[in-house]
């Protein structure tokens, strides 16, 4: 069970959180301008690194805030992003 550092509530057990996948994939400003391939890319394609991953989490059972952290997918080391 990981312990994740909520920026507002401090460290809490992983089960209090929801995982939001890769960070930094913004909702396109004008989805209508994207062709099918580019839109599918936004919808479905994400990095799957073996190593450091920058990802979104939400403290669902606590303050309900979304935040970004860096997690090593092999060792589960965690860093808050600079």
């Amino acid at each position: 069970m990981m312990s994740l550092p909520c920026p507002h509530c401090g460290p809490r057990d992983e089960t209090e959180f929801g995982y939001g996948g890769q960070a930094g994939v913004a909702y396109p400003a004008r989805p209508g301008d994207l062709d099918d391939r580019a839109w599918a890319e936004y919808l479905f394609v994400r990095d799957n690194p073996r190593g450091w991953s920058t990802e979104r989490w939400v403290h669902r059972a606590g303050c309900r805030q979304w935040f970004v952290l860096r997690r090593h997918t092999v060792t589960h080391e965690i860093e808050s992003p600079a």
């Binding site: 069970m1 460290p11 939001g20 909702y27 209508g32 839109w39 919808l43 060792t75 080391e77």
Partner: protein, 913 residues
């Protein structure tokens, strides 16, 4: 024949005799004994039998490394396989000896088990000298320290009996307010981020404990730093017939003498590969064991130890080894064959004490991600690279780190004398699995060279002792077979749990009603009083149907449906999700997350909405009411309330933080009674005389605040049945009072309570899909025939909403997508089964694969339709009305006709009453 020494044994209390039952026979012991020490004291050498071979087996070790002495506990709640070396004796304890496998006790275990969470700056695992020292050090700056030790009292087994220093340290530790000492507590897992899970045995040794006291506790410890001070496990040496009762680990034999005052034998051969075995020989000699021979595989031993042994008249024979044993009539050890200086000598003995060295207990370190390496100095695997997460350090200290005493000579890395032994079938590498050197050689012969593969092929190391004693030895033997260095062969991976954990303990108090929260509405007690059967909807408990005396589900639902269609019904609708959306930008926000247009909604009005995911698939539906200029109330399906709130917050917080919106769940704030049917207006008028309930004043999809009965209420005119209907919301404290008031006011109109089943039938007759039942995450609004729910104005103006772009993808506009249709059986009576597959009429079900055209999502017996009626998703469904198909469940086809999904009142004429 008692083998209890007249004196000695600091762990046992000779003033407290205890009797235990072994296979029904009384065995005398003292408080403080383990079952193993009691059995040894009673002279019972055979304590078990080989799982497959049935060969007699005896106690080998002292604790968790014991491979043989497992018993079935038959007293108390019972337990299938317990190590005699770890079982504290107490009056009333009854056990049966095992041949390999225990049996789960049948029947319910009503013993209490619980869980507890705790946090510490430092967790120390192991209460020997190193652990006690580490705990004292850690406690110095006032941080919270947890010290878990699997023994009855701290002190460990390390440097012999408790020295006065250690005694004093333990006493000091136990007075520190910031230190929590957990004896009888085994850490079974070390996980990410300093999390440890430990089993505390609280009352196993206290048969007088009352039933409400938890027998065992699962601790969840979260520590900033973990110190592993788990010591080392002694490993044996192997040779033909090494599994006989009487072949005991030398260090363990010495501890039985010293700590329990028990002689494991009277005439002994000691065979060792390290100084520890020689020191054990000294202890045995001092206690009066006749040492027939002391053998060391090494060519040289420390002169000091040799000299001390000489004072007992014993010469250490270096370069010597055991080549085999014979059993006596009782199946236990009687003779040992020793090779020394090229000749074989046979000794008559009842004890062969062996010690191949110490295996540092690196399991927890390894579980946490630490890597080990072979150390020639220690002749064992020692911690090497610490777990990578430097933020939660795991430190290993003491014998677990592979520390040797300053005065020790290096041990020998010695495993088996003759890997090509003709007697390999009797050289046991895992006595609990009855696996031998021959098995290992067969694995090698099959081409396996990886220790992980050999483990799985031979099962060596997979038994309950997890190869603690024999595992490293097996690696060594494999290295010999492969003619490679031990360090290259490496160890198998250690995984939790370190020791078996019962399911009852893992469940803890999460049993029966507490296993998962049951959510009930404010009206629940009324339903219980009415004796209604409940349906579980997620965690909610909802009235399923409301039968009269003697009615079954079908009869009750027929009556309930008829009441709503022709008179008036009432239902507890409190479980619908409710979310207050507040802020200046809520309208704009809702325009983006719903397919419809909401910013134009007037205060006092309600609009139906469909919500899609970014992929264009329907994720929820519900209503939105505008309560004030900046306040809106969103309702969701019962099962989706949490997910919808999550989703709204995610969009608002992560994509559009510039919008002024905030969300508050108020699902439990409101008790809701739905009043539905042509007479519902009459009931409302009677309940709320001050409210103008006329269709003109209070139209469909509007809400009004009113006093209902005497209660402050908000009334919404919405319908999930197609009939004229209202939902009356009151603060939940008044839910039961509202239920009573509606029932009273409805009595003259024959109001009928109904449950979820009737609700489902009524909505299906109107073709209202239920998200999650009639949809499965692959269904667009268009597939449901709800293209009307997508705002034409938003489409016209090119306004984006979640899912909009996806709905234009080629796949989303294929004409042959599965679309919602109705189905009726062509014979007018056959039941259609939910989940049935739709295939061409008359399709040959044996000609595989049978092309599947769709599936049934909802099916009911509908009085209104006059026959069974189903909703289904069907390829090109909207163009197939009138076609016949087979709905197949369990290979039984039912001929059905495709019909419009709205068989009842398709014009919607009934909603105004």
């Amino acid at each position: 024949m008692s083998r209890r020494l007249p004196h000695g044994g600091d762990l046992v209390d000779r003033d407290r005799p205890v009797t235990v039952l072994v296979d029904g026979d009384p065995v005398a012991a003292y408080a403080g004994d383990t079952l193993a020490s009691a059995l040894l004291a009673a002279g019972r050498r055979q304590v078990a039998a080989g799982t497959y071979t049935g060969r007699p087996r005896g106690v080998v070790g002292l604790g968790a490394e014991e491979p043989n002495a497992f018993v079935q506990v038959v007293s108390g709640p019972g337990e299938p396989m317990v190590r005699a070396t770890e079982l504290e004796v107490h009056d009333g304890l009854a056990v049966q000896r095992l041949a390999g496998r225990g049996r789960l006790p049948l029947g319910e275990d009503d013993t209490r088990y619980d869980h507890r969470w705790t946090h510490a700056e430092v967790l120390v695992v192991g209460g020997g000298a190193a652990g006690v020292d580490a705990a004292l050090e850690a406690a110095r700056d006032g941080g919270r320290v947890v010290l878990a030790d699997d023994q009855v009292s701290l002190g460990g087994w390390s440097v012999g009996a408790l020295g006065p220093d250690l005694d004093e340290q333990v006493a000091r530790l136990e007075t520190l307010p910031n230190v929590r000492v957990l004896p009888r507590t085994t850490v079974v897992g070390l996980y990410d981020h300093g999390q440890a899970v430990a089993v505390e045995r609280r009352t196993d040794h206290r048969p007088d404990a009352p039933a409400h006291v938890a027998r065992r506790r699962l601790w969840h410890v979260r520590a900033a730093e973990v110190v592993v001070a788990t010591g080392a496990h002694e490993r044996p040496l192997v040779f033909p017939d090494n599994d006989r009762p009487g072949v005991v680990l030398a260090g363990a034999a010495a501890q039985y003498v010293r700590r329990f005052g028990v002689l494991p034998g009277e005439r002994a051969v000691v065979w060792t590969a390290h100084d520890g075995g020689l020191r054990a020989a000294l202890d045995l000699a001092a206690a009066g064991v006749e040492l027939v021979a002391v053998l060391d595989v090494r060519d040289e031993v420390a002169p000091g130890l040799a000299a001390e042994l000489a004072t007992h008249g014993v010469t250490v024979r270096t370069g010597a080894e055991v080549r085999g044993t014979d059993a006596g009539p009782d199946g236990a050890l009687a003779r040992v064959h020793v090779r020394h200086d090229g000749t074989i000598v046979t000794h008559d003995v009842d004890l062969l004490a062996v010690s191949g060295g110490l295996n540092p207990a690196v399991m927890l370190f390894s579980q946490a991600g630490g890597r080990t390496r072979w150390s020639d100095d220690v002749a064992g695997f020692v911690p090497d690279v610490p777990p990578p997460d430097a933020a939660h350090p795991v430190r290993v200290v003491g014998a677990a780190a592979g520390g040797l005493r300053d005065d020790e000579l290096p041990p020998a890395a010695w495993f088996v004398g003759d890997v090509d032994s003709q007697e390999a079938e009797r050289v046991f590498l895992d006595p609990q699995r009855d696996a031998t050197l021959a098995d290992l050689r067969r694995a090698h012969g099959a081409g396996l060279t990886s220790v992980e593969h050999v483990k799985r092929y031979t099962t060596i190391g997979t038994a309950a002792d997890q190869g603690r004693g024999f595992g490293v030895l097996t690696v060594g033997v494999l290295a010999q077979v492969l003619a490679r260095p031990v360090g290259e062969v490496g160890t198998t991976t250690y995984r939790p749990p370190y020791a078996p954990v019962s399911f009852a303990l893992l469940a803890g108090r999460d049993r029966d009603a507490l296993s998962d929260p049951v959510r009930v509405t404010a009206i629940h007690d009324r339903h219980v009083a009415d004796g209604v059967p409940f349906e579980d909807v997620g965690q909610w408990r909802r009235p399923w149907y409301v039968p009269h005396q003697g009615e079954d589900l079908a009869a009750s639902v027929r009556r309930e449906c008829a009441a709503v269609r022709t008179g008036v019904g009432m239902m507890d609708a409190s479980t619908l999700g409710k979310i207050v959306c507040r802020g200046a930008d809520v309208g704009r926000f809702l325009d983006r997350v719903y397919t419809g247009l909401f910013s134009t909604l007037k205060v006092g009005s309600i609009r139906y909405g469909v919500m899609c995911g970014p992929d264009g698939m329907v994720v929820d539906d519900g209503t939105v009411a505008r309560i004030g200029e900046d306040e809106w109330l969103v309702t969701t399906t019962t099962g989706n309330a949490a997910a919808v709130l999550d989703s709204l917050e995610e969009w608002a917080m992560t994509e559009w933080p510039e919008l002024d919106v905030a969300f508050t769940s108020v699902t439990d704030q409101w008790a809701v009674v739905a009043v539905a049917g042509p007479r519902s207006r009459d009931v409302l008028a009677a309940l709320a005389p001050d409210l103008d309930v006329s269709n003109e004043a209070f139209g469909f999809m509007q809400w009004r605040d009113a006093v209902v009965g005497t209660l402050p209420a908000r009334v919404m005119r919405i319908s999930f049945s197609g009939e004229l209907a209202y939902e009356i919301d009151v603060p939940a404290w008044y839910g039961a009072a509202l239920w009573d008031a509606v029932r009273r006011a409805g009595e003259p109109f024959g109001i009928t309570a109904y449950g979820t089943e009737t609700m489902h039938v009524l909505r299906a007759e109107k073709g209202f899909p239920i998200v999650g039942q009639d949809t499965d995450g692959t269904v667009t609004p268009g597939d449901l025939g709800m293209g009307w729910a997508i705002s034409p104005r938003k489409v016209r103006e090119g306004a984006d909403f979640v899912g909009a772009r996806s709905l234009q993808r080629a796949d989303a506009v294929r004409p042959d997508r599965r679309q919602l249709v109705g189905l009726v059986p062509t014979d007018g009576s056959s039941a259609i089964v939910e989940g049935a597959q739709l295939v061409a009429a008359g399709a040959d079900l044996t000609d595989l694969p049978v092309p599947m055209l769709g599936h049934v999502t909802s099916a009911y017996d509908s009085v209104t339709v006059g026959s069974p009626f189903a909703l289904a998703l069907l390829e090109s469904g909207r163009t197939r009305h009138g076609e016949e198909l087979d709905a197949v469940d369990s290979l039984v086809p039912v001929r059905v006709r495709v019909v419009d999904p709205v068989p009842y009142d398709p014009e919607g004429a009934r909603r105004d009453g």
